[in-house]
Amino acid sequence: MPRLTWARLAPALAMFLALTACQSSISEPASSTTGDLTMTDAWVKAADSGMTAGFGTLTNTTDHTVTLVSASSPVSPMELHEVVANASGATVMQPKVGGFALPAGSSLTLAPGGEHLMFMTISTPLAPGAEVTFTVRADDDSTWTFTAPVRTFTGAKEDYQSGDSMNGTGDPSNPAPTMTP
């Protein structure tokens, strides 16, 4: 019944058990700075295939602006996205021009219906309760790696359609993708 192979998931489980809590884990930044970029309450929407998205709160505790320009994950190519209203008033999801800029001391909340981390094409099902690792990169090539739990979520029209154009937030009449248990 489950289409997920447990063998493939085992390393992710082991990694989780090594963590003390269901919070993001944070790697050392590539460049030496005071403060850091942290991510709290991170999570990724479960999906069997195609697109999905990651959310959470980024906080810049350094003394300078951190501008995130890209993201990557072992499970998918990624983009930094925003949701904006177009000329005809419809909301569209699109890559964020210039990336996510976080002034020193500021936080940015990535949430359904707003700015988010887009997983463009996942190569393996992301099952609810599993964990996903991804890395964000700043314009000065600093990187931070976070681990986020995968959760079932059907709200905020977060229906991403694989291979579809990104000029829309998804068709609410489109049923949610079938999910691995």
Partner: protein, 399 residues
């Protein structure tokens, strides 16, 4: 984030204040308590119960006003690995919600900010052990109760692979938690049944007062004390690790024929129970907690407390066979006539077979009250020990 931390510590203060109020009034001999601090004005809403510890909350916890029990069936294909993922999701959600914080994917985060002593207690039915390939670890008492002649059990209130008991002093907190936790679990389980119950609201009755059921009776007078009688309720470290600090939960749905009960006069009602309606005192005593004199005879030489009175039949001579009752009334006007009112009879005991079953058998054989009460639902669950720091609920069973 600073704001969140401040809020959490304030919430903790609230919980302490509830316990303090209870102690100050001299009540709550039976239930857990914590130390005293001055109460904030919205004491009830801000109060929190601890989530982590050797025992799960919601058993020894002073009963909250409202409860919902959701029993689930596992979907086909859900085994040990998937159950572990579900535990990871629920552990995180429950820890957040009981602390007054929104769930990770919470669509209504504001509703999480009034926890009102929210507790969520996880139970495993026999099906979890089978699905996880752990049948050898299933305690002998974790099985459906034997059929009793008085039972009229309905599938819609009976059994279940998993259960969440969700309690709080505010119904919004209960409803929000029930929805979020069910929504997060849709790829693992489907809901089998949901029951809802209520007791007196906070502040409505003196702290420590025994609840009254919908038949008007004081119900639950002779309950074990969760501190001094802990051995009756919880397993200790001498058994399986996953059950250390754990217990068992029986949930019986007892419908009351209140229309029939209406035809019984006060004297007949007191005779049926063996206690006075006004104060719950045994018919041989003057105060609720007086020991009943089961040998006392009236002027005609008949027992003052009838041989078939509920009080007599529900008593056990064996002090080690007592168990904790933590029931709630239900009133569901949408249900069929005769099934609208009653009691969600919830008990916790170390061993269902050694403690619950003998009393249940005694009541099933003979109890005047059976004429007006009908068991229509029945389920038995194992309550794993509480999540220690950094640990998932049920982790010591599922590994």
């Amino acid at each position: 984030m600073t704001d969140g931390l401040d809020r959490r510590s304030f919430l903790r203060g609230g919980a302490a204040a509830v316990g303090g109020a209870a102690l100050g009034a001299g009540g709550y001999a039976t239930w857990d308590h914590v130390s005293q601090q001055p109460p904030p004005p919205d004491l009830v809403g801000r109060s929190v119960e601890p989530f982590r510890g050797k025992r799960q909350a919601g058993v020894g916890t002073v009963p909250q006003a409202f409860a919902t029990w959701v029993a689930y069936d596992l979907l086909p294909g859900v085994g040990r690995e998937a159950l572990t993922r579900l535990m990871r999701i629920w552990t995180d959600d429950i820890e957040r919600l009981t602390g007054g914080r929104p769930g990770l994917t919470d669509s209504e985060p504001e509703l999480a900010k009034v926890p009102a002593r929210l507790t969520v207690t996880l139970g495993y039915g026999p099906g979890v052990f089978t699905a996880a390939g752990l049948d050898r670890d299933r305690p002998p008492w974790l099985a459906p109760l034997p059929a009793f002649a008085i039972d009229r059990l309905e599938d819609r209130w009976t059994g279940g692979d998993l259960v969440l008991q969700i309690c709080a002093d505010d119904r919004l907190a209960v409803a929000h938690a029930a929805r979020l936790l069910s929504k997060e679990a849709t790829t693992f389980v489907r809901t089998r049944w949901t029951q809802q119950g209520f007791r007196a609201s906070p502040g409505a009755t003196p702290p420590g007062a025994t609840m009254r059921n919908l038949m008007g009776q004081v119900d639950g007078t002779r309950n074990p004390d969760v501190r001094t009688d802990a051995g009756l309720i919880w397993h200790d470290a001498s058994g399986p690790d996953w059950l250390s600090g754990g217990t068992s939960m029986v949930i019986r749905r007892i419908a009351m024929d209140l229309d029939g009960w209406d035809l019984v006069d006060r004297e007949g009602r007191e005779f049926t129970i063996g206690r006075r309606l006004a104060d719950g005192a045994p018919l041989t005593g003057s105060r609720e907690h007086d020991e009943p004199d089961l040998g006392a005879k009236d002027g005609l030489g008949l027992p003052v407390i009838d041989m078939a009175a509920h009080l007599r039949r529900a008593r056990t001579a064996d002090p080690s066979a007592r168990f904790l009752r933590r029931g709630y009334s239900f009133h569901d006007p949408g249900e069929p006539a005769g099934r609208q009112s009653g009691l969600v009879f919830v008990t916790f005991q170390r061993d269902v077979l050694a403690q619950y079953l003998p009393v249940q058998q005694s009541l099933a054989e003979l109890d005047l009250l059976n004429r007006w009460t009908i068991p229509i639902g029945s389920a038995v669950f194992a309550i794993p020990g509480g999540p220690r720091s950094g640990e998932l609920l049920g982790a010591r069973l599922l590994g």
